[in-house]
């Protein structure tokens, strides 16, 4: 099993689509530092705010890293493209393997369950990597420019309002809040990858397979728009700035279900897989 996982991980990470997706994520993350964090820290125009003149609360790491700047188009772009970025690296690989019949050779050598399980694990790891690495890079780079001043609700510059999930955690342990949201993004990224893999059995076009989670997220966004459940749309729920109210346990439960159901379908279908 270890060898088959190592083989799939090597395939997942050593390909140009992984590099392309990671570079897009890093471009957004570094671009955010250049356009938001660096000006806050260095620009003359922000000097008054930065000095805390008149009791105004200066920019803090917890109000300026990519996850919490709802006013930055780079933040919105990153979270909007998250379902797509997560699937670019390797989520279409099963579809490609099946259409080229390469899967037959691998199944002969590894066995069905090992092949499909390795595929799921490698896809999840690559999906998580392209999302989590840019977020961590942005957080660390922002911390190099802006001090980690403790968030204060009365300062009115921090994103968490009492209607947001884990708002209390944000004001009492902001680092934990950040880690929780990065983990939430990782959970959903793995789920999106697994969803693409599971859809490869019924969809035979790799681009459609890759776009399926993104299309579902956009559909959820439009269907829930304007309703009380707008905050549960994955694109909204994953954003640490939380534009709409939601419930943490429900968001996590949806993420776990989105991860487990495609994994289950893939393993069941894989168990009885016969290429014709």
């Amino acid at each position: 099993m270890k060898r088959s996982i190592a083989f799939e991980i090597k395939r997942a990470f050593l390909n140009w689509t992984f590099c392309a997706a990671l570079n897009v994520g890093l471009l957004l993350a570094i671009g955010h530092v250049v356009m938001v964090a660096a000006p806050y820290a260095l620009s003359e125009s922000w000097n008054l705010w930065r000095s805390g003149a008149g009791g105004t609360y200066p920019p803090s790491l917890y109000s300026a890293w990519m996850g919490v700047t709802s006013y930055s188009f780079l933040t919105i772009t990153f979270y909007f493209l998250l379902p797509l970025l997560a699937c670019i690296p390797y989520a279409d690989s099963l579809c490609t393997d099946l259409s080229t019949h390469y899967s037959n050779q691998l199944i002969c050598r590894m066995g069905r369950i090992r092949y499909f399980a390795s595929k799921l694990i490698a896809t999840s790891i690559s999906s998580i990597s392209v999302i989590v690495i840019p977020l961590i890079v942005n957080y660390i780079a922002t911390a190099c420019f802006i001090p980690a001043l403790w968030p204060e609700p009365a300062a009115q510059i921090f994103p968490a309002s009492p209607s947001n999930m884990l708002a209390s955690l944000f004001y009492h342990a902001p680092q934990t809040y950040t880690i929780v949201f990065i983990m939430l993004a990782a959970l959903y990224s793995a789920a999106f990858g697994a969803l693409s893999i599971a859809s490869s059995f019924s969809i035979h076009n790799r681009f459609i397979v890759m776009l399926t989670p993104f299309a579902l997220c956009i559909t959820a966004q439009f269907v829930l728009q304007g309703s009380a459940f707008e905050g549960f749309s994955p694109i909204n729920a994953l954003s640490p700035y939380q534009p709409y109210p939601s419930i943490y346990s429900v968001v996590v439960a949806i993420g776990i279900l989105l991860l487990l159901i495609p994994n289950f379908i893939t393993l069941i279908k894989g168990r009885y897989f016969e290429d014709v």
Partner: protein
């Protein structure tokens, strides 16, 4: 088997990574040390707080006396009818009005002005400012400023609105009376606030409005 050349590449890359991580850690340390320390200064109910904590030239001291949370009906019963235009804004949701009794005392030798409506009420992640549309009729005031003669003390009532939608799906709204509130006077560089404790029952809240006492 690893070749010596490969080993030296691995060692060099590891050294570079350690150096890079050290540089980042040093930079973060510098950035955080450059910011002034953030102290938390808290006062209790009935403590007189010198506004020099906020404005170095002020001779005024303020004190929070008591506070309670009212429903719209309780508020109207106690403080008089709310204007229709103001009330209509609050009719679409469940609303509570927190009323804080606050005193301002001029300890200086000259006449002084202050604005008590500048301070925010906070409970956990919830925060709101004074509703001036309620403040004016409640205190029979024309604006938010209070003028105080030397040694004069005035008491005003500060109304803060709380709406159910501000809490989304959180059940904090249901337990709103069970958590302490804070009156935040300043957030930076030091956080200065008055810890108000739990709200009093509305029945024990004395409803006198502006009173002027010469001390």
């Amino acid at each position: 088997m690893k070749t010596p050349a490969r080993n030296s590449i691995i060692i060099s890359l590891t050294m570079l990574a350690i150096l890079f991580a050290s540089a980042i850690a040093a930079r973060m340390y510098y950035v955080n040390n450059a910011a002034p320390p953030h102290q938390i200064i808290s006062y209790k109910l009935n403590d007189y707080v010198s506004l020099r904590e906020i404005d170095e030239t002020s001779d005024i001291q303020i004190a929070s006396k008591e506070y309670a949370l009212f429903t719209i009906d309780e508020y109207q019963h106690r403080f008089g009818k709310i204007d229709e235009s103001v009330l209509s804004q609050n009719q679409t949701c469940d609303t509570k009005i927190l009323v804080l009794k606050m005193s301002a005392l001029n300890k200086g030798p000259q006449e002084n002005q202050t604005n008590l409506c500048l301070y925010s009420m906070q409970q956990d992640a919830w925060v709101n400012g004074v509703d001036l549309l309620l403040y004016m009729p409640l205190n029979k005031a024309k604006n938010a400023n209070i003028t105080l003669q030397p040694n004069e003390e005035r008491t005003v009532l500060l109304p803060y609105n709380m709406y159910d939608f501000q809490f989304g799906f959180n059940d904090n709204w249901i337990h709103i009376n069970e958590n302490p509130f804070e009156l935040v006077l300043k957030t930076y560089p030091n956080k200065v606030f008055i810890a108000l404790g739990l709200p009093e029952p509305t029945s024990s809240f004395s409803s006198e409005t502006i009173s002027v006492e010469a001390l």
